[in-house]
Every structure is written in C-alpha cells, then in structure tokens.
Symmetry: D2
Subunit: 465 residues, 4 copies
Amino acid sequence: MQYHDNGVSGVKIAYIGGGSRGWAWTLMKDLALAENFEGEVALYDIDYKAAQDNEIIGNKIREDFPEASQWSYKAVKTLKEALTDANFVVVSILPGTFKEMGSDVHTPEKYGIYQPVGDTVGPGGIIRALRTIPMFEEIGNAVREYCPNAWVINYTNPMTVCTRTLYRVFPEIKMFGCCHEVFETLKLLCKSLDQIGGIPGVKRNQIKANVTGVNHFTWITEAKYGNIDLLPLYREYANKRRAEGEKPPENDGNWMNRAFQTHELVKFDLFDRYGVIAAAGDRHLAEFCPKSWYTSSPEQVAEYGFGLTPIQWRLKDLDERLQKSRDLIEGKEKFKLDQSGEEGVLQMKAILGLGDMVTNVNIPNQGQIPNLPLGAVVETNAVFSADSVKPVCAGDLPETLYGLIAPIVAEQELVVEAGLTRDLELAFKAFMADPHVQTLSLQDARALFDEMVENTKEYLGEYFN
Amino acid sequence: MQYHDNGVSGVKIAYIGGGSRGWAWTLMKDLALAENFEGEVALYDIDYKAAQDNEIIGNKIREDFPEASQWSYKAVKTLKEALTDANFVVVSILPGTFKEMGSDVHTPEKYGIYQPVGDTVGPGGIIRALRTIPMFEEIGNAVREYCPNAWVINYTNPMTVCTRTLYRVFPEIKMFGCCHEVFETLKLLCKSLDQIGGIPGVKRNQIKANVTGVNHFTWITEAKYGNIDLLPLYREYANKRRAEGEKPPENDGNWMNRAFQTHELVKFDLFDRYGVIAAAGDRHLAEFCPKSWYTSSPEQVAEYGFGLTPIQWRLKDLDERLQKSRDLIEGKEKFKLDQSGEEGVLQMKAILGLGDMVTNVNIPNQGQIPNLPLGAVVETNAVFSADSVKPVCAGDLPETLYGLIAPIVAEQELVVEAGLTRDLELAFKAFMADPHVQTLSLQDARALFDEMVENTKEYLGEYFN
Amino acid sequence: MQYHDNGVSGVKIAYIGGGSRGWAWTLMKDLALAENFEGEVALYDIDYKAAQDNEIIGNKIREDFPEASQWSYKAVKTLKEALTDANFVVVSILPGTFKEMGSDVHTPEKYGIYQPVGDTVGPGGIIRALRTIPMFEEIGNAVREYCPNAWVINYTNPMTVCTRTLYRVFPEIKMFGCCHEVFETLKLLCKSLDQIGGIPGVKRNQIKANVTGVNHFTWITEAKYGNIDLLPLYREYANKRRAEGEKPPENDGNWMNRAFQTHELVKFDLFDRYGVIAAAGDRHLAEFCPKSWYTSSPEQVAEYGFGLTPIQWRLKDLDERLQKSRDLIEGKEKFKLDQSGEEGVLQMKAILGLGDMVTNVNIPNQGQIPNLPLGAVVETNAVFSADSVKPVCAGDLPETLYGLIAPIVAEQELVVEAGLTRDLELAFKAFMADPHVQTLSLQDARALFDEMVENTKEYLGEYFN
Amino acid sequence: MQYHDNGVSGVKIAYIGGGSRGWAWTLMKDLALAENFEGEVALYDIDYKAAQDNEIIGNKIREDFPEASQWSYKAVKTLKEALTDANFVVVSILPGTFKEMGSDVHTPEKYGIYQPVGDTVGPGGIIRALRTIPMFEEIGNAVREYCPNAWVINYTNPMTVCTRTLYRVFPEIKMFGCCHEVFETLKLLCKSLDQIGGIPGVKRNQIKANVTGVNHFTWITEAKYGNIDLLPLYREYANKRRAEGEKPPENDGNWMNRAFQTHELVKFDLFDRYGVIAAAGDRHLAEFCPKSWYTSSPEQVAEYGFGLTPIQWRLKDLDERLQKSRDLIEGKEKFKLDQSGEEGVLQMKAILGLGDMVTNVNIPNQGQIPNLPLGAVVETNAVFSADSVKPVCAGDLPETLYGLIAPIVAEQELVVEAGLTRDLELAFKAFMADPHVQTLSLQDARALFDEMVENTKEYLGEYFN
C-alpha cells in the first residue's frame, strides 16, 4: 500500500463470495468511482466459475472507464490466496442454496409462522444461522492465519450471528458488519423534513441520529437536522400518510411484485407504540415483533402493506441476474457508473486515515449500550478513523423497548454457542427462545425444528458427527 | 425488647392489614407456638372494626392456651401508633376490594386474555400494582418516620412491585418479601425422592435448592438431598405422573372447586422446555408464559389442569371467613394450634440473632443474579442472621430462561416508575410491555387499559390530579 | 437563533466568570474569528466591575474589527439575567482568591507534599473542590431553572468534580468539560512524526488518538497518522531527547520562570512504565503518581524538569493582566485576532449542527470506559453533532493503569458526595483516600486537613452550619 | 461413599502436600474427632518420603484412638493415584524452599521494602506467585482429568492467586480457599463483648459478621451479637488497650520471639481510618497499606508491635517439626486429640449435606462484591450446603476502602495472567503495579525484580523457555 497526495494505491481487497451477481457489482462500481483509491480485488467463491465471470466483468470496467479509479480483479481458488496480504476482506456469501432458503421461509408456514424474510431471527433465521456459523468459523480462522491485521467487512445475514462468530473465533479481529436498512429510515426523515417541515433537499447523511438496537431491529431515539427535532415531524408525517389512506397497492394479480414493497405501516405502528423510530424495513421489523401484531396471517401481512418473500421470486430474480452476467461478460451490456449509496468504500478510506466518518455498524457491545450484555453484537453509530472503528455511546436502550430486544440478544447468543459447539440440542433451546416459535407447543416446536434440520441437513453435516 | 436464655420478650410487631381474616390468624397461631418469643402485636387496618375483631380473637388465644407463648393484641387507629417502637412490621393488605379484583381478572377476558390469578403481572397485575404503589409509598414513608430500624416483612401482591416501591421510597429500609410458592415445589421434590428415589419422610427444608428468578416465576436450578441430585428424580416423577394419565379431575359440575387445584402439568411442561424446575404454582407460572402455551382459551387452561380464579369464589370464601371470625369472637370455634409452615416467625427469630436460617426471599438485586439489573427485586435464597438478611449468590439466570424473565423485570420496573410518578401514560407503556398484552393490537391494548382504569378509578384518584 | 446559509446568528452565550482576564479574552477573539456565527454574550461575575470592564473590551473588538463576526457583550448582575434564553453557558470561575489557592498549594509542603498545581487532586485539589462544589450546585440549579436546554461548557478546575456536581444536581443537563492538556501531547506526537518519522507539518487534529482516563491524568492508548503507528515513533523520540541530555534549563536565578516549563520527563518515564502515553502536562501528571516518583522533594521536582507553581507567580501574573485590561479599555492596546487553538467555538458550531467534530471531553461515564463506574466523570473522545455530545467507546482502561486511576475516581466521587452533603467528616475520608495524603500518618493527615480547612473557612461556611 | 444415620463413610480425601508437618497433622486430628465421618486419605507430596512418614503417623492415630473416627492414610506416588475417586482434595503446598522464601522476604529490604510475611502481595508475594501458578495449573488440569466432581480446598498462599489459577485452568472446578485470619478478629470481638460489653463466654461463631475484601486484606463491615452492634464496643476496646499503653513487649533479646506476635495496633489504626474492622493479622494487613503507615522502617514495624518473619525463624521451626515427626513415628510422642478451630472438616460435612454452615471463603466474584470485577477472587461469607458453596452478597466495598483494594485486585489479576502465559515482562508490569514497589524508581524496581527472579530461577524455568 502506498500513500500519496491524500490518496492510497496498492490496496488489496479480498472478496469472499466474489462470484456474487449483486453486491460484487455494486462494489466494483463504487471502487471505480472512489477518488484517490486504487488497487486489486481477489475474488474467492466456492463457485469458482462465478468468480472467474466477475474477474472478467470487473476488469472490463477498468478498460471501459480509463478515467475511473483503476482496480484489477482476479479470481482465486483458495481462501489463503485471497487473504494473503489483504488490507480489507469483504464477506458476502449465501449460506446454502435457494432450496435451503425455501425451507427456512416456508416450512414454518405450516405452523402458522409467516416470515417476510426468514434470514435473521425466527425459525428461518436460526436454521440459516446454524449453517452459516461453521462457514464463518472457517473464515475467522483463515483471517487469523493469513491477514490478522486486515479489516473485515461483513454483509452476510444473519448479520449479528456472523459478526459474533468472527469475534468468538478470533477475538482480536478488526471487523464490523454493515447494513443499509437504517439509511432508508433516514431518508424517511428527509421526506418528513420536506413534506412537513418544508425543507427540501436534505441528504440522509445530514440527518444526525442516535442509532441503537440490533441489526434489523434497530431504532433511532434522537434525530436532528440543525436544531430541528425530527421526531415531531415524523409523527405528523406518519399521521398524514395514514390519513391519506396509505395502504398496500392494489393487487395487480401478481404477488411477486409485492415482495419488496413496504408502506411503512409497521414502522408507523411501532412509532405509535414506543415513541421512537424503528429503523429497518418493515419486512425485517415484523419478524422481531409479537406475531399477533403484523404476521398472524397472510391477510394481516397484506393489511400492513408488506410482502412475504417467496422463494420463487428469488429464483426468477437469479435468472435475470445470470442473464445480466452473461451480457456484461459478452459486452452486450455495460455498467453505468453511479454511486450505490453503500458506504463500504467510504469506510475503507476512513480506516486508511483519509478522513473520519460516523455511521452505524454492527460490532460487539463494549459499552455502547450499557443495558445489553458486553460482547453481544449490537448496532449503533461508530467513528471510523485511522485503523480504528470505535462505537459511539448510544446509552441504555429505552426501558419500554428492552423487553423486545433483550430476549433476541439472548436468543442469538445461544444460537452462536450452539453453532460453535455443533450442538443441535442447544440449538433447539435457542429455537424455543424465539418469540415466534414460542407461539407453538413444545411438541410442534420440536417437529418444526426437526423438519427444518432435515430439509437442510446437507449443510449441517458437522452437527451430526 | 429483652434478651434472656436464648429467647426474647417484649417484641413489638406492627401488623398493617391487621383486620385480615387469613394471614393474621396464621400469624397468631405461629406466634403462640414460637418458643422463647413473646410480645405484643399492634393491629392496624383501614377497616378498624376488623382490627378490633382480631384484637379479640388474638387475645383469646392467650387465654385459651396459657402454656403457649404469650402475645397481646391491640387494634390501633393510626399507622403512627402501630409503627412507633415496632421491631417488626408485617404488611398484608388487600389493595382495593373484590370489585377491583373482579375487573383485574375478568375485563381482559373480553380480549382473550385469561389470567388464573391476575395479581402479579399481565393486565390485572399491572392495574393492581397501580393502586398498590401509592399505598406502599405511604407505608414506606411512615416506616422511615416512625420505625426506621424495624424489619418490614411483606406478604402483599404484587410482591415484586410492593418490595421495589418500599426500597424506592426509603432506600435504607430493612425489608424483604415472603412468598410460600417455592415451598410447594420443594414438597414435590420430596415426593420425587419418596416415589422414585425410595426415600420417604424427607422434609422440604432438608432439600437444598438454588432458587432464582422473580416472585411467582421462580426457578430451582439445582436441588440436592445429601449427595443425591434431585433433577433426574423429578424428571422420572413427572414422566410417571403423566404416564399414569395425570389430568384435571372430572368436572363435578362445580367449577368453583377447580379454582385452586393444580396438577403440575404446567410445571412439567416447563421442565421439559428448560430442564430446570419452575417453582411456583401453575396458576402463577402460566401468567408469565406465552399465552399460547397454557392460557389461550379456558379449554386449554382446563387441559393443563389448573383453574382460573373467579371472583365469585373469592366472595363465597370471604363469607365463610367472616362467619368464622364471628364464631371465633363468640367462642363458638377455637383455633387449633398447629404450625402453618410459614416461616415469618422463624425469620424474625433469626433476625433477632436466635439462630441463622437460609430461605428464599424477595429483595433488590445487589449481585445475587448478576445478569439482571441491580436494584430490581428478585427472589433467591438469603441468609437470615442477627439484624441481617443477605442474599445468597444464585449466579446468572440460565441463558435459555433469560428471554422470558428479563422483559418481566423491565415491565415491573416501568410499573413502579409509573406508579411513583402517578403517570398513567407511562403505566400504559408498561402495560404494552406485558407479553400477554402484546397479543393485542395497539388499539385493543389501549381500549382494555382505559376500561380497566375506569373500572378501578376509585383507587386511582392520585393519577388524575 | 436564526439559521441561514450554513450559519447561525442570534446566538446567546452566558459567560459565568465573565470578568475573567484570560479565558474570556480568548473566547472573545475566537468568536470574532468564527465564520457564520454571531450573537451576544452575557457576562456574569461576582466581581461585577470586572464583567463591566470585559463588556467594554468585548464591544471594542466589534468596533475595531468590523469585518469579523459581530458579537455584542453585556455585563449582567444576576445569574438569572445571564442564563435566560441562553443557548450556551460557559463556566470559568476562580473558586476563592489567591489566598485560598496559596493555602491549597503551600500548606501541604509542611508535611512534605509538593503539589505542582494543587487544583485537581491531592490535598490542594480536594480542599479547592470543597469550596467549588456549592458554587456549581448553585449554577446547576440555575441552569435547570432558567435555561434547561442550553449546553453548558465548563473550564473550571477541578474539572472532574465540577462536571460531576452539575450532573448530580441536574441529571438531564447538557454539559461537558473542556481541557486543552491533551492537545499538547498530540503536538508532541506531531514532533515525533517530524523528527523521527520524517513527516513534517502534520497538525494535531490530523492525529487520530484513543483518549482515556480522567482529566489531568488522561492517556493515549492508540495513535495513528494514516496507517503509521505513532507509539514506536514516540518511543524513539523520547529516547532521543533523553540521549541528548534533556534536562531542566539552567537555573537563571529566578525560580518564577520555571513555573510552567516542563521537559516531558515525567511523560517519558510514564511511557517507560506503562507503554501508553500520558496525555497531560507533567505538572498535573505528577500529582496523580506515587509521591516517590517525581515529587518527593523540590530537588526531585527539579530533576524531572518541571516547576511547582508558587502563588507569588500567580500574583505577579494577575498584576500584568489587570494592567492589560486597563490598556485594552483605554485603547492603549488592541487584541490581535488569532486562533487560540481552543475548541470551544468549534464545539458550539458542531452542536448547532454546522458540522460534526470528534474531540476529547469530560463527561459522565455511560459505558465509554466499561471498567470504571458508570456515572463517574471520565475523559475520552466524543462525537459533537446536532444537539448532541456522545462519548466514543474507549474500551477498558489498561489493567496496568487501573490501579492508579480507580482510586482517584473513588476519591473524587467521595469528594463530590462530601461537598453536596456539606459533610466535612466525609471530606476527610476522601482526603485520606488520596495517594499523597496516604504518605502521612492519620494524625498528620488530620492536622493538615484541619489547617487547610481553617485557612479557607471563609469559603466553607456552609460546611459549618 | 455410603450414607447412613446422619453420617458418611468411605470418603476419600486426596491431600496434595501430604508430607506437611503442620497442616497435615491438624487435619488428621480434626478427622479423628469428626463424628459420623470416616474414610481414607491419600497423601501426595513431591517429597514422597515425607508422605510416607505421615502415612505412619496418620495410621497410628487410628490405632491409638480406636474410639475416634477411623481414617486410613496412604502415601501415593502420583497425582493420578491421589486424585482418582477422591471426594475432596486438600491442597497445602510450599511453593519452593526456604531459600526462595528467603529471597522473597529479604531481597526487597535492600530497597527499603519491609515485608512482615512476603507471601501474598508486595514483591515477595508476586515472585512467590510466579512459581506457584504453574504448580496450580498442573493441579487444576489433574483435577479435571481425574476427579472433576471432587471439591478442592486450598490452604496455600498466595491464596487469591492459587484460587484464581485453578478457576482459570478449569472453570467448572468446585473449589474454595480457606484462611483462618478472620477467626482471630472475631475472637477480638468476643473480647470486646466480654471486656466492654460485660458478656463473657461468647464463641467466635456466635458473632454474626459481614466479611468482605480479599484474602489477608479482609474487612468486617457489620458485626452483631444478638441485637448488640459490636462496632462501638470494638471502638471502646481499642481505645482502652491503647490507653493502657498497649505496645510491643519488652525486647527479651531474642528477636525470634517477636516473629508472630502482634498487638493489633495496625488493626486499631485502620479502624480509626476507615471505621470498619480490618480482619487479618497485622503482619498481613501492613503489606497492603501504604508503606509509610507501618513498614517504612524496622523501627516503625516495632513501634506498631508486630514482627517481620525472618527466615531463620522458619528454619529453626522446621527443625523442631522434623524432630516431632520422628518422635511421632517412633511413638515417643502422641497426638493429643483436640479441635484445631479450623473448619475444613465441618465444611466437608456440610458439602456432603450433613448440615449447612456459613463461613468466610475465597472464591471468584460472582456478584458478592458488585464493585469489584466479576471473576476476580474475593473473600466473603458463603453458605456451605449439599454439593454447594455459594457466596453471600456482601454488598459494595465501602467507597473509602475501594482505593486500597481495587488496585490489589488488578495487580493479582495481572500476576495470574503473567503466570499462566509464563510472561516475565507482564509479571514485571504486575510488580510495578504493587503499591510497595511503587515507592521505587523504575530503575530500582527493575533491578529488584531481576534480582528476585535470578534468586529463584530454579523454580521459574518455564518462564525462560
């Protein structure tokens, strides 16, 4: 790595899951647009062919945009090759296939548990965690061996579990997890400022918010623009949208189109309940709340204006992205270079000492939320600075929210312990600790757990040794 | 107070709620049977006539049993008179009348919330707490003024809230709360020892158990008799009873008879879930668990073999006790002096330095359960010794249970804050934090709260100032 | 207050101690140089005449520099007048006169305790704290009454005690304490970077450091410039300076000139001991260390190259400043507008939402140093943002330092408690808890305490009621 | 092990350090006197011959006292043989020889550090800890392998370090450390009760005291006999003894006779300072206090009426004990069976479920002292019950004492870490953290450390690998 004129070249990024047809492309574009920041990206993927495709696609950017920052891409066959000499490690993997995701999301429906996403908590999130933890254990061990001083950035879900696993395996790791869910809520605050406060044009990073909670169940307890308190504006904004008859779009006959739409009705209801702002997508938030509030039936889900993500949607989406990959390789399509809004590249630059930034991350609790256990992974703001990511004290969780969040933290700590010890019996205890599973009898909980394990056992081999 | 020969005379006990036709009589008998322990009892009650009745009844014991320990009883008209010079203060009051209790228990049924008792948590427990807190605030202030060095023993529910209120009002108070629910579970362990282990005749206080949790949701995480681990025996015992078809008794057509019967099926189910022993009556335990487990309908309640306590039962029971009071006064009936099994008198003697004892009490957390907040009231063992009640370290709550208990602790802390500040809006937030209330929509929760407050507003006057 | 074009006008600052002939002038110049930031300053001082002088001096700046930011100054007679409508409150007062300071610093010398400053800890710091606490209690109460939403910035010593007092008196106060001692250490790191690393011209705020500890005994545990670790450079720098014979300057016969000189020899010795950087002036640091290290005699003080501050120096210095005040009023002298290096104005702008900043402040521990007690005032970095100053997590104090810092924290907590309760006996307990006082027998400690109290009793009247 | 009639036979005790000519004999006598408690003792010692001697001596008791409880003794050659099937493990070893102890105690004298004992903290205690930790690591590993369910009782110093090491090595160990120093202080309270209160004949275990702190720097913060508060009596008692001219005995020309005498003058001075009772021998207490209070010179030591323990005394004492051993083996001398006052056997019986007891022990902090770190070893009361030793909550350390104790806890935690990692550099950091070492310059501290390590390197081999 060489420093010069406010910039750095010779940076090496290892991308684990480098065959991705989503995040990887986003990163490629952001890197091309990053000023005074150049280097190489090693693409590692268990699907080596996919990594090779991305090597071609990535290197095409350099050719197509000679004026952009210059990054070279190379598919590699081993973690060792990827990690050696890396300055940063990006992890964005899919733990299992759509078959396993299908089981995660849909098996619980038999027992009346409807999960809009199923990748974080709830039965789906827990089973997904079980297959993810051994993968992150391997990654953690490899980082310790090959690049212990590199900074690791995770984008994989379940975020909390992945982050905790890396710190359990390699406590000295420099690592944080990123999620853009909070950003969307900040944008809602910008809309409130515009529509209620009459101040248009404010960007999300001009909003100063205190972020607290856990990933996908994150909260904003204070939000200011200059000296304007945004919570009263948000209240009016929410009331206005509801008064205007905010509701789910007309059913156009194609449920697939509903998959990712949300209408913030969950967010608005939670605001009424707690007086602070839930800062994640409605589809995630609903999974942390009592089932009776938003997901007691598909009809109630519809009523709250968000969709469940059917696996068929994901399959169709993948087909489209595979086609796009082919088009990019063959040059039928070219990237349009625009900022993604993701912060990964800004964070890397801040860590290299090129300018501080404050944003929200997932990282073990070291005091930032005093009434949650030390060590558990939480999401708050942090200061990114030279070789340093330090959380900002968010204060105690509001007492009114504590009862919703503390059990989730305990549940996820149990899941990680169960995963690291490959202990299915302990995993079942974690499963039973989930509020949605707690709507079932012990017998049904056991049957559901067993079926979900059976469905995904291809990825749970180590638990049966 | 005079010490002599291993004993003490001249003890003064203030009994707040001294018109009681239950606990007061129990105490009278226990005092009569307490060796080397004599003095006087000041009976204070807002129903002065009831206190006067008990004065007569109490003094009759002295006459009827001249060989028993000699205690004199006197009804007094003011807290000041009762407390001045008191060595001990017993608090056992009914916060409100059966009308209010009726609202506590039955109003939530409209919304599908079935509470077997309704005096601890859940909508009933919270509303009851709201009317209780100002009363305990008054008691705490009076103790500080008139007898700051006296030891206060509370028997009133909600136990946790009452105890916390006294410590909030007068932090230096010497006070603990007693509940006999754990004893019954220890007796079950004696039965296990007899029926499975083949060791009959063991008494409950020979069982050595680690008690932890909060009142009415208390747990035994270790239990030994000599070097025999009682948990495996309890497992066999539970399985045997279920194998033998343990179930609710035949319906004899009179639901009232079912009110206090329990068949331990909740306890056994919780043992299957958590591997540690729930140590309270099933009727209380069920109120802390997800509604879907045991109380989703009257039918499910019946299936688990416990009853809901209808207010009619309480009314009938009161009639009987009033009659008994008259009979005692008129000498138509006499007490039979037998040990109640309650420990209040033993505790007093230990506090006077007449012999240590270890038993479970409710007291603020000062480290005995490190993963619950300091200050919150918890139930664990404590050592009773000369002028001292010190909790025994129970260790962290099991991680698997944490998610059920931590929210309850937060909820009850909120209730106390709401009560002390007479803040109905905060009280509603506490209400919404209750797991059973969380089965409702925000609108229904509000409607239920408002109705319950309206029903009991006679006792909530200060909240409307 | 009006926002416009990245700036704010109509700001009201209340300056308590506004007759100051040091800090007040610094602030005046910084305000004049602050872009897009204008308003008025209310000067309150128990010496009203001094405040009036500063009113004249301050308003002259506006006349003399019409192109500078425009601030008007006004002496006021009451705290109420000063605080009403204030957006910011600056507190910089002298608790007592030089007579009391003389006793603080010099009385302990009779017992072999040499205090270079005597305003923070040690016998002098504690007695000073006792007279300061009632003053800050009054200020805290006034802020709550007249401007509860204003931000309060304290510059008065003992910083920790003043800050803690304000938060004890008014827990919801928005307040932090500022001290520039860390800045000088950052400049030393710049020198290391220049002289050892060969990188000249780096400014102190380009150094990224993790600050931790308590005021005047603050530590830098990590320091980076870009990806350069500054600790090894600092080690070489220290060794080089010592190798070159760093020592106190030749005695020019005038001890007064030595008063504020330091040669960093204390800092270098502490670095050898702990491997992390002590980040305050040597004169302050020495007061927190075992007496035998640096202050066992005036000779040892000289050997370590720092001076004790004699009160005569302060008297002479005051004379000079009084003369300067007259000259400024009469126009014989004019301010030269240059940046002071103080950050107060930048902090105010950040708090108004005009741009975030990260710097070190004194504020109650809310998790930023998990192994110190919550609530105790500590010094770490904090993020300044719109209406928000939130500490950055500094992590646990290094275990090796813990034993030096934890007792100081306990001592200062005791001092505050003693001050707020006006309890001289408790104050003596705090006094005895001081490591320097602990070099004395109980009898000598008592005699010293009594003498120091007697000497300063004019300011301790409330302790004798 | 067989239970019968309130008793147990077939108990196996492993005695590590079983060649001891002190503690081992004490245990033998206590076992012979223990009713309804019989079994065998395996004697393991690195000096196998000494263990064989004790085998003979122990078995003679059985022959000589056929009516006593019957215990058989057997010297064994390996830890494995000793520990296999053990129910209890007693550890009482001498880490090194008198040569090493001589260096521990006397080398620091060159630098003006006078240690009365030198086995706990201070330079001597730390160096002793370094050679002890690897031994206890071996013991901990062996317990895990051969008798993980046995209860381990340690009597070896440094007690805190030994206990912590066992729990670090084998966290699930059932283990506590016993020390009789508190007992002597309880006896002083009995004397106060007699001489001041006029109540003779009270036994130490009738005094109810709250014990807190760390081993050898233990404190009694509350003490009661019945409802009599003993602190005022103790104050009068201390004043009376000083008024009567309590002072060290006339020098009879033989310093050796002074070695273990104490006159409580340290204890009385500490009571004046803190208002709570220091509960260990003066010789130990002095090592935790600022050097200037009691040990700044041999003269000051004499003035406070306690002695330094010269190694010559220990050598002479050993000679006497070796002779006694020979006499016992040859039958020239016989034991007199009398209660030692030690509680080891009572504790074992309580653990077997034969009756609860409350006494003070050393055990990791699990909440019993909330303002000390969890995990650090502290000394408080504990309840001994069936298969259970649970600490009693002692509450926060008094704030006035905190500054003396917290650094010691940090120092000993560092020592254990240094020992377990065999890290001499970290050990030096711990050494520098000691208050007595902190009276030295860095250079002197280093020189002393190096010399003490050199002197004892025969036992520090693993630190040089």
